[in-house]
Symmetry: C2
Subunit: 273 residues, 2 copies
């Protein structure tokens, strides 16, 4: 996303954040304002453009999705879950504010996202709440699989689809749903597929990457069950590429050319983090 | 609440809970189904009766409020926050399912409550999301005050009003808001006051109580900043009684006699836990 547009979204975030003296307000601000590529926002805005919706009308939706996503990152990074010390090249939320405040800051970002969506996009709030639930179940499956010796490819894909696919599914479909375009359900599926490819690339990156590049702890995921426990990197990357290609083909099929071009242009960024 | 009505609400909870093999589904079921007096549900149903609304039309709302409340209990009980091992006479969620799953189960109950409210009571979802946010800020203020040496009565009351008052405020006003009765805002305030009295009684109970009686860890709250750090038990109890009395008077003023009688009848239970 262009620097200028990132600034616009960060600026809009400010509108929804509180400036109080209590630590919790600072902890809630910290993660969404600390970098990030805002990929989900880019998708929302690009599809919006393809459907003739002005950026201005979707900025609050971007903020809601980014807040929600930040909330999940804070909870994932907690010592009891992924125990990550860094995120987006900065200290993880719990490393700055303590575990107790970080747990509550995650909750706070979730609730802020519901405040925004129920105030500004009430038509989306039911779908959003189901997506939120899926994301958390996906994360919990990820946690549980870590302890498991026996698991299947189906388990891994259920986890990917929920943990990562669900919020991308929402980001792909949101503008179409607002415009009552019939293909919103199809866009949701396309977004879920995109999320699966994204997650596979992310898992490959975690194996290959170094700290400097992705700005979060690597190599901690040794017990994590990813598709790379069942397939070679080469095979997994091939499959992710195929999914990614199909996502773009499907977008073109529905006439969403701008979004298709955008995803083509960022594929390397998605792969490399 | 009558045993029969509790059974009805628990039965309705089942409708919204998932039966899957993943641990997370079991962890999400565990806390809301494990006892509790369902005081918030009683208030919703009593006010509903006063306004001529059938229980049947408010049961899902009760479930949503109880799920949300259970989610906050799970997060409050975590080792990083209150570090409580017991809740409602049973092991705390994190003691049964582990800290990682418990964090996510709390999130899951929050999102379930949003699913229910956005599906069944869309008119309430914006208010509910603001209340959810207030509850978490209140809990975070509680956590922060624990480390503070300097604080005021105003800080304590802000914490009480948010942490405990907000969800009672919602429970008092929900039925009136659904019916578009003008006094719903007034009911919200009455409910917040009730919550403050409730919290003062709870703090007194924590000081006086023994384990068997309230079924959660006591005496851990030694660093907690409650109104009892600033006032004597006698003085605090007197003030809570005055607030409670005013709540009942206000309910009578608005013709909500059934709810007034109900609160009179449970005052000792509220005081003693």
């Amino acid at each position: 996303m262009k620097e200028e547009k990132i600034t616009k979204i960060k600026h809009r975030m400010e509108k929804w954040l509180d400036n109080g003296d209590w630590k919790i307000y600072k902890a809630i601000r910290y993660t969404p304002l600390s970098g990030g590529k805002l990929l989900r926002s880019s998708i929302i805005l690009n599809i919006g453009k393809d459907l003739g919706i002005d950026d201005e009308d979707l900025l609050d939706l971007c903020v809601a999705v980014e807040f929600f996503h930040s909330g999940t990152l804070i909870h994932d990074d907690l010592p009891a879950i992924d125990d990550a010390s860094f995120r987006r090249g900065k200290k993880a939320n719990h490393k700055v504010f303590g575990e107790n405040i970080a747990i509550l800051a995650g909750d706070g970002l979730f609730f802020k996202s519901f405040i925004i969506i129920s105030e500004k996009y009430p038509k989306l709030v039911f779908d959003f709440s189901k997506v939120a639930y899926d994301v958390l179940v996906g994360e919990a499956i990820d946690v549980e699989l870590e302890e498991k010796q026996v698991y299947t490819e189906k388990d891994i894909y259920e986890m990917y689809r929920k943990k990562t696919g669900a919020l991308f599914g929402f980001s792909f479909m949101a503008a179409a749903r607002l415009e009552e375009r019939r293909f919103w359900r199809k866009l949701k599926e396309i977004g879920e597929s995109f999320g699966i490819a994204f997650q596979i690339y992310d898992d490959i990156k975690d194996i290959k990457g170094e700290f400097e590049k992705v700005g979060k702890d690597l190599g901690k995921d040794i017990n994590k069950k990813t598709i790379l426990k069942l397939k070679s990197i080469k095979q997994a990357e091939y499959e992710a590429n195929e999914i990614y290609k199909k996502v773009i083909d499907n977008l073109v099929f529905y006439g969403l050319n701008r979004t298709a071009d955008f995803l083509k242009s960022v594929q390397n960024m998605v792969k490399e983090g």
